[in-house]
C-alpha cells in the first residue's frame, strides 16, 4: 500500500513538474527537438499514406452506385455549362476592372505548408503543418487550398510546426456570409469532425439549397471572400429566432496534403 502511494506521489510530481516547466518555458528546446523529430517522421509516413490512399466511396446496393454515377454525370454536365458561363463572366469581370479601376486586385501574402500529420482526438480535428512562427504563421491565420477554399485556421504556432484547426472541428467558428439575395450573415461552426453548420441566420431571410457561403471578413485576420462551402439543407423552425443551414464544405477535409496560410492581405 505504501509503495503504491509512493509511486502515485512520484509520478504525480514528475507530471506536475513537466507541466510547470512547460508553462514557464524551461522545456522549450526539448519540446522543439521532439516536435521536429516526430514531425519529420510522421511527415514521411503521412506523405506515403496520402500517395497510397484513394479515398474510396462504398455503396450498400448496386442501385445506389448507379444513382450516384447518374448524379455525377448530371453534375459534370452542369459544371461544363457553369464553366463556360464562368469564363465569360471572368472575361467581363477583367474588362470591368481594367476600365473602371473599381476594385484593386487583392493580393494575399501566404506561406505554403505541408501537412505532416493529423490529431483526430474526439475534441479536435487538427492538422499538423510543417511551418511555424519562424515562417510568419501566427495563431488565427486562415488556411486555404486550391482557389481560395477555406479549410480552417491556425490555433497554435510553434517555431517550426503549427496546428491547423479544420473548419469541421467542433471548436471551429467563422463569421460568414451567404451569397443569397439578402447576403445573410451568420456563424459557421464545425460539428465534431463530420459536419459544418451555419447558425444565427435571421429567420426572415431566404436561404436556398446550393447557396454559396463565404467568409464575411467581419473578424480579423480573416479576409472576406474565402469560400467555405454550399448550403446542403436548411433547418427553419417558426418558433426559433434564427435558422440553421448544414453546409457541404468546398474543400475535402480528408484529403489535404498542402495548404496556404494567409499571413497578410
Amino acid at each position: 500500500m505504501r509503495s503504491r502511494a509512493r509511486s502515485l506521489f512520484g509520478i504525480s510530481t514528475v507530471i506536475l513538474t513537466v507541466i510547470f516547466f512547460h508553462y514557464f518555458g524551461f522545456l522549450y528546446q526539448v519540446e522543439e527537438f521532439f516536435r521536429r523529430v516526430i514531425g519529420f517522421g510522421s511527415g514521411k509516413i503521412y506523405a506515403l499514406t496520402s500517395s497510397v490512399e484513394s479515398a474510396p466511396e462504398s455503396f450498400d446496393t448496386v442501385d445506389a452506385c448507379v444513382a450516384s454515377l447518374s448524379n455525377c454525370r448530371t453534375l459534370s454536365e452542369q459544371m461544363e455549362i457553369d464553366r463556360a458561363a464562368f469564363e465569360l463572366l471572368q472575361e467581363e469581370n477583367v474588362n470591368l476592372r481594367n476600365q473602371l479601376h473599381f476594385i484593386a486586385e487583392r493580393g494575399f501574402i501566404t506561406v505554403g505548408a505541408d501537412v505532416i500529420g493529423k490529431n483526430s482526438d474526439p475534441v479536435g480535428n487538427i492538422l499538423i503543418l510543417n511551418r511555424g512562427s519562424n515562417d510568419g504563421i501566427f495563431a488565427g491565420a486562415p488556411a486555404i487550398v486550391g482557389g481560395g477554399l477555406l479549410v480552417g485556421k491556425v490555433v497554435q504556432a510553434d517555431p517550426h510546426t503549427s496546428l491547423l484547426q479544420l473548419a469541421n472541428d467542433n471548436r471551429s467558428r467563422f463569421a460568414a456570409t451567404i451569397l443569397n439575395r439578402e447576403r445573410s450573415i451568420g456563424l459557421v461552426e464545425g460539428g465534431y469532425g463530420i459536419s459544418v453548420e451555419m447558425n444565427f441566420i435571421p429567420q426572415n431571410e431566404t436561404v436556398n439549397i446550393g447557396d454559396q457561403i463565404i467568409t464575411s471578413g467581419l473578424e480579423t485576420p480573416m479576409p472576406r471572400g474565402l469560400i467555405i462551402g454550399r448550403v446542403e439543407s436548411v433547418e427553419k423552425e417558426p418558433y426559433q429566432p434564427f435558422q440553421r443551414a448544414v453546409l457541404h464544405p468546398a474543400a475535402d477535409m480528408d484529403a489535404i496534403a498542402q495548404v496556404s496560410v494567409i499571413i497578410g492581405y
Binding site: I15, I38, K44, Y46, G124, I126
Partner: protein
Amino acid sequence: MFLFFFVILFTCVWIGFFSVLPYPFSQINVAFLLLLSFLLWKESGIVVWMSFAFHFFLELFTASAFGIVLFSGTMTMLIVFWLYQFVITNRSWYATLFLSVLALVVYRILFFLLIFLEGVWSADAAGGVSLSSFFPFVFWEVGLTSLGVVAIFFVLNFFSRRMSTALIQR
C-alpha cells in the same frame, strides 16, 4: 533506449498513419493498444513511464491545454498497472478485454473531466462542448482498441507460452 525509440516511432505512425484512416478506424488509440499489449507481455512497471513518454509526445501536437493528455494518459496507465497486478490477474481474453475497456473508459473520464475544467478555467468555447456528442467517437475508440488488444493477446498466446491462461506467477 530501445523502448524510447519505439515510443517515438509509434507516435509518428499514429499521427502520420492511424489518424488519417477513415472513420471509425481513425479512432483507434494506438498508445493504449501498444501499452496494454506491452503490459500483457512484459508485466513491467516501465509501461507507466512509456505511457508518460507517449502522451508527452502527443501533447506536443494537441491544441488543448498542455498537461491534459499527459496527466490522463499516465495516471490511467498507473491505475491499469495496479489493477493488472492485484485485481485482474487472470490471463484470459475476457480479462484482457475487460482491462482494455476499463483503461480507455478511465482515460476518457479523466480526459473529459480535465477538458471541462479547462473550459471553466479559461472561459474557452470548449466549456460548452456537449459530452453526448462524443459518445460515438469514444464508443468506437473503446471498441476498436479493445478488439485490437484482444487480437494481439491471441497472437502472443499463439506464439508464446508466456501468455498461457493462468494466474500471474509472483
